[in-house]
């Protein structure tokens, strides 16, 4: 597997990553996509459209909220921030994710045909 190749995101992971990102600071949609690209060394890219759809989904569930604000270059932008129930959801999903990968990793580490 080449290290340049983008990894397709597992189902539900995008929501988790967005919540994680917004838990650090409010961000607009474009900032969010570039953050994901930069942090993963461009190896994780869910696609711009999918990111916005995920944001709207989270907004509808009350996990994030959005407001129009002025961005750094004095243009209007829609800033998303995480809500308290979004934080709770993040904690819960994060734990699930770690448990899940732990178990999968442990199972894969068992001796057998490699």
């Amino acid at each position: 597997m080449s290290s340049d190749e983008t990894i397709p995101l597992l189902k539900g992971t995008l929501d988790l990553l967005i919540l994680k990102c917004l838990s650090m600071e409010p961000m607009h949609g474009y900032g969010l996509t570039t953050w994901l690209e930069e942090q993963s060394g461009e190896r994780v890219s869910p696609g711009d459209s999918a990111t916005y759809q995920a944001l709207h989904r989270l907004e509808a569930d009350g996990l994030v909220e959005a407001e129009w604000d002025t961005s750094d270059n004095n243009r209007r932008a829609r800033y998303y921030h995480i809500t308290p129930s979004g934080r709770a959801k993040l904690t819960e999903s994060e734990k699930q994710w770690r448990d899940y990968t732990d178990i999968v990793t442990r199972l894969l580490d068992l001796p057998g045909l490699a």
């Binding site: 474009y30 696609g47 711009d48 916005y52 759809q53 243009r75």
Partner: protein
Amino acid sequence: MKRLLRLWRPERRRREVDEEIERHLELRAAELERRGFTPEEATAEARRRFGGDEGIEAVRASAARRDRKLTLSDRCSDLRQDLVLALRRAVRQPVSTAAELLILTLAVALLTGTVTLVDRVLLRPLPFPEAERLVSLWSVGEEGDAFPWVSMSNWADWNDAAAIEASGLFAQSDMSVTLEDDVPRRISAYDVAGGFFSALRMPLLSGRWPSEDEVEVGASVALVEESFWRSRMSAAELPAQIEIGDRRVDVIGVARRDAAYPSGAQLWRVRPVRRMAGRARNSINWNAVARLGPGVTTGAAKAELDGIAAAIRESDPAAIYSWGVGIVPFADFVTDDARSPLLLLLAGALGVLLVAGANVAALNVARATARVGEGAVRRALGAGRARLIRHELTGHLLVIAMAAVLGIGIAALGIELSVRKIDLPLPRSGEIGLDVRAGLLGAAVVGLVGLASAMLPALFTSNSATPTGSRAEVTSRRGVVVGRALVVFEVVLAVVLLSAGGALLRDYRTVLTRDLGFEPRGVVTAEVALTSEAYRDAVDPRMEWWDEALRRVSRIPGVAAAGIANRSTTDHRPNGFVLAEGESEPSGGAIYAAIGGAYLEAMGIPLISGRAFDAGDGPDTERVVLVSEVLADRYWPGESALGKRIQALSMEGFGADQAPWLGVVGVVGSTRAWGYQADEIPPEMYVLAEQIPVWMGTAAVVARAESQESDILGPVGEEVRAVDGDLAVETRLLTADLAEPLAQHQALTLLLGGFAVIAVLLASVGIYSILRFQIGLRRRELGLRAALGASGTDLVGMVLRDALLLAGLGATLGTVLAILTGGLLRTSLYALSPTDPITLAATAASLLLIAVVAASEPALRAARMDPNDALRRA
């Protein structure tokens, strides 16, 4: 802010999504340019990364989904907030919330109940196919006066009319019926003749109507009613044999409970059709029902029937009830008696509803004015006026919804109970059951009234723009004025309802204290139909039977006097024509009674002149008769009736040449023979049973108790039954018998009286709460007065005067309204005028008294007020 944005138009929201996408594409393109893309390439690459048009559309769709979901949850959270506030307020003000709930529940229950009754009894078509073609046929006398009764012979001629598809006769005739258990019982039964069933097309549960042949000859067949068939005949297979008297009769059909007519009938026995001429045409003792042919108008039917009647009169000059034929829609005939009481009840229920609405409104105005501040604060904090009104209404809607559920439940229980447990004195009572539509209508009307009464204070609270003192006070004063007006309105309606209930009650009592001309208290009757084979044809055994019964009853300890009479009940008394000696044609009728033993003493009918029957009168001596004072005055005014002679036409033979002459030997007191409710005191004649035993087929032993009638009720029944165990004996108290025709009157009195009591209670609660609330508002003024030297008595007087002012105004207006609407009551009153001054005065007086009672607590509260405290807190 976010919420407001969301409430904006959808296009606006759509523009926002597009702007967001556009911003994204711009930022992406700018970055790509920094990495060396040309502007055109950068723009194209940014769009590609976004997934092109497809990706943009997908984001628009997800935004729209989000907006729909958020708007919905916004509304839900508003509702949740309203409900929470409403519940919080309900908990904070449990008494007034409970009062509102109770009042509205009551209104729903009353309205549902009465609407159900009116709908089932008056509005619904009769339970027969094409019931609009059914009519009742009436006899018409020379003066054009119509009677609901017809003679079989006249009807037989009418029946040939082309306009009539089918028609039949029916007459009540209680019978002694013996079923499988061999115990004879008296049941409520009807004789029917002609095409009674086929005219009605009475729906049957099983079996069949009688055939034409069976109808013509009067075969021994009968039909029974569903519940009788199930409970008394254990749902026996048809045809089933029963005994009526001692004649075997085949039960060939079972009528459905909800389609049994007349209401209460348990059995219909088919009688033969007999055509007779001459005065027999004047025995009008049947009711007639006819089904007009399809498309035949009543006018056309009447024209044809009038022609037949004219022909009858021409060929038979003695026919005095053949001056035409009256045609009345059968539904009107069936429900006639119930129409005005039911409409009265409905009016009463609507009255209670209005009082309830006014009461809830007054309570709410008081509550809301007390909360003027709260509304103003919430408004100042940005709650819109619509939002405030909606919030206010949510609480009331909650209460109304609960009231609707509870009210319909109570109405259902009440109706179930009154149908199953009580014999409703109403026609079509078998068809009555809870109607969901009536319930919904009741709930909807109460809901509207409740909402309207809730709107009033909602307008108050949301109206006040500033929460500060003076404006709040002005609004409060306005609230007080509206509250007082509502209370006056309540008193007006309460007076109208109470005067109606009072008039009915006073009428009922007046009727019951009417002098009957005899003393029903202490009298027990035991009625028997001598229908056994042994008694039917032979005449002598009947008198032997009655003599034996009389001997046995007279021996019972506690029996003061005992006699016999051909009928004991006040209704169904035969009324026959009387021909006085010297007249050529009978000029009127008289109640005809065949009596024996100490009947006059047992009944308490006084002898005015001459003598009563004595041992010298017997089967073989000259025929004798006692006449009532009214009869004597009619035929021999100013002279002594003694020694005069009369003939009892139609009772003892139809022609003057057939009926024997009866010599008057005594004059007795007149009685109200048709019962308490009848205004007329009819002429009466008494013949000696031994001289005309043919009339003693169905008759009664009448016994007077020395003290309590209940002491002898059982023994009389046992002794009479002991004469011949095979006969059904029905023992009754004469007082109960006389009260029976008043049952509907009594029920109406109770119900309307109940409505009136509710209205009065509500009005007094209204007076109480508005006064108490006002005292709260006037604390400052009252404190000042007290500080300036007004005594407690002064303050009490002030509050009481205020209460009397409200009640007095209401009572005056109410009395005027009661007089104006009194006409509605007229048909339901027997003895009194609807504008009976005593009732009206008593009603107004009691309302004033109630106002004083309701005001006493607030008055004392005012008197106890500490001036310092009041001034400080105000």
